[in-house]
Amino acid sequence: MVIFIALLASALRLATPLIFSALGGVFTERSGITNIALEGMMIMGAFFAILVTEFTNMPWIGVLAAMAAGIMTSMILAVIAIHLKGNQVVVGTAINLFAVSITAFLLELVWKRSGQTDSVKKALTTNPFHFLENIPVIGKLFGGMTPFVYLAFVAVAVSYYVLYKTPLGLRIRAVGEHPKAADTVGINVYRIRYICVGISGMMAGLSGASLSLGTISLFREGMTSGKGFIALAAMIFGKWHPVGAMLASLFFGFCEALQIQASTLGFDFIPSEFLQMLPYLATIIVLSGFIGRATAPKAVGTAYEKGHR
């Protein structure tokens, strides 16, 4: 039981950044835009969260800055993919490269050295709801929960609600499936796509902040270590659905937690490299075994041109 709760807690924490980014992915792809730039937007979020917290000493302002940075970055994707009808994958690749370079560049400019910033004095690394830890048995679960863990689940609920219970969500899904149909009933396809790309930037920014401000209170080059791509996989794995994306993220988190726990669970006779592979192999097996075919929103990846047949 204790082990299980520890595993679960671990899984929740590890899944948090993935959930945010995967939700961002759900929004963009639901509106018909491929987003492989989640990683880059995460890096921007992680960096600006720390930068702004460093100067304001107010971590929540840092979170807002991360969201803003994510949105700004996402607008590069939006303008080029939506208006200029550029190849969405190319833009995404460029953004990822750009984010790595520009954050490293600014880091050097601001902190006068490379690699890593200072720790910010105030971060968001502790559980905001201390009373939860007093619940018997499961109280332990809440020990290491940062505000971001709770936020991630709120974000899932909100995303689900927006996508499936509001007029905006109906329009988003329509735009991703059949933009022309949406256009003919007077929906501004471009605007919806801008909104969605913006939302994804915001989410990825949050995701980055959850790593830098929420986990270790500083920014390090390479700290996102490919999580944006794992989130992309989680979104596909979750079949472009907020709840699915969350479950897939939790699955990744759980597998990674299991790998970390291996030595305490007595699996340490397995070479560590094989334990590291666990989440990835498990995903492939689950996907090819029984989840199988996943169908993307129909219009994903194609620019919409008004007045085109």
Binding site: S10, G115, Q116, K140, L218, E221, E256
Partner: protein, 341 residues
């Protein structure tokens, strides 16, 4: 490469009240001039790793202050850059070229052959057998042994943890030295070991630390570069002890960093630079061990009781005196008999 982390802006070269060696002398009042240029090539961790590469860079900075040499750096993007980077410096007839990290060994050998007149130095590797390559190596096992002793005595749960970056032989030196130290003073104490398979994923480091703590470990030592930032963060939040590595890391969380294992890469680099300046440069291995003050432990935050320090110093003296050898591999560890002091 070993990238044990210290999140200290590597600005202050001066050693504190630690058993580690004194670095360079005070910078001279009037900046000395020298037209020597020394180049340093980082491993893929790059500058700003706050430990290994930074520490080496600091060594060159001290040499710059001391002797007025000019220092230049090339950061390697991938392992495939090592060789071209060495060539780039060698072509410029740089006076001394450092390759920071044991992964340079083969490319360094090749470069040493191509440029027999060029002086090279490599950190963390030995046995290259080139007369124009100085090899700077450290007895990480000894320093780790000492913090192992401290952890073994200090633990209340009889469980301690170790987080390694990757399963390199170099990192295993930390692991087995540490294990042996624990075993020497507390044979019943369990050591939980995890490798993060990364030197950068701090989030993972934090998660491993939390898991080890939940499994009962109340003191955790790391040799995992940036991953260690996560350990210290976790220690801060959960109120257990972390042991830093390479440099004194207590400034990151004075309440939570029990002590740090010290590895003076800066001293090693500085001393080779010095040998070039004064013309005494020689190829071959320079060992920086407990005896020479190249490794040790440090407690700037003052968290160690006198008893603990006394115990650690007892073993330190024994190591210096050669009473016993701290193990650095699994085999040596298994064969290790704790000395009775």
């Amino acid at each position: 490469a070993s990238k044990p982390a210290a999140t200290e802006p590597a600005a202050e070269p001066a050693a504190e009240a630690t058993p580690a060696a004194e670095p360079a002398a005070e910078p001279a009042a009037e900046a000395p001039k020298s037209d020597m240029v020394m180049g340093m090539i980082t491993d893929t961790g790059g500058l700003g790793d706050q430990s290994f590469n930074d520490s080496a860079w600091l060594g060159l900075e001290n040499a710059e202050k001391e002797f007025g040499i000019t220092r230049q750096v090339l950061e390697s993007q991938s392992a495939d850059d090592y060789s071209p980077n060495l060539v780039s410096f060698a072509e410029e007839q740089t006076d001394l070229i450092f390759g920071v990290g044991f992964l340079f060994d083969e490319s360094m050998k090749a470069a040493a052959d191509k440029f027999p007149e060029q002086k090279f130095a490599i950190v963390d590797s030995q046995g290259l057998g080139k007369s124009n390559v100085a090899e700077i190596v450290f007895a990480e096992n000894e320093g780790s042994f000492l913090v192992g002793v401290i952890a073994g005595l200090k633990t209340e749960t009889n469980k301690v943890g170790f987080i390694g970056g990757m399963k390199f032989p170099l990192i295993e030196k930390f692991e087995y030295g540490f294990r042996a130290g624990v075993k020497a003073v507390n044979p019943d104490c369990e050591v939980i070991v995890n490798y993060a398979d990364s030197f950068e994923d701090a989030a993972k480091g934090k998660e491993i630390a939390l898991v080890q703590h939940q499994a009962g470990a109340d003191i955790i030592f790391h040799a995992a570069g940036g991953v260690g930032a996560g350990l210290i963060e976790a220690a801060k939040e959960e109120g257990f002890w972390a042991i830093g590595v390479d440099q004194d890391q207590s400034h990151m969380a004075p309440e939570s960093v029990l002590c740090s294992m010290i590895k003076r890469v800066d001293v090693g680099v500085y001393s080779v630079a010095k040998s070039v300046v004064d013309g005494s440069f020689q190829g071959g291995t320079l060992v920086f061990d407990a005896k020479s003050g190249g490794v040790g432990y440090s407690d700037k935050a003052g968290n160690l009781t006198d008893d603990l320090k006394a115990a650690a110093d007892k073993y330190l003296e024994a190591i210096k005196a050669g009473t016993f050898v701290a193990p650095s591999t699994e085999a040596e560890f298994n064969a290790f008999e704790a000395p009775t002091l």
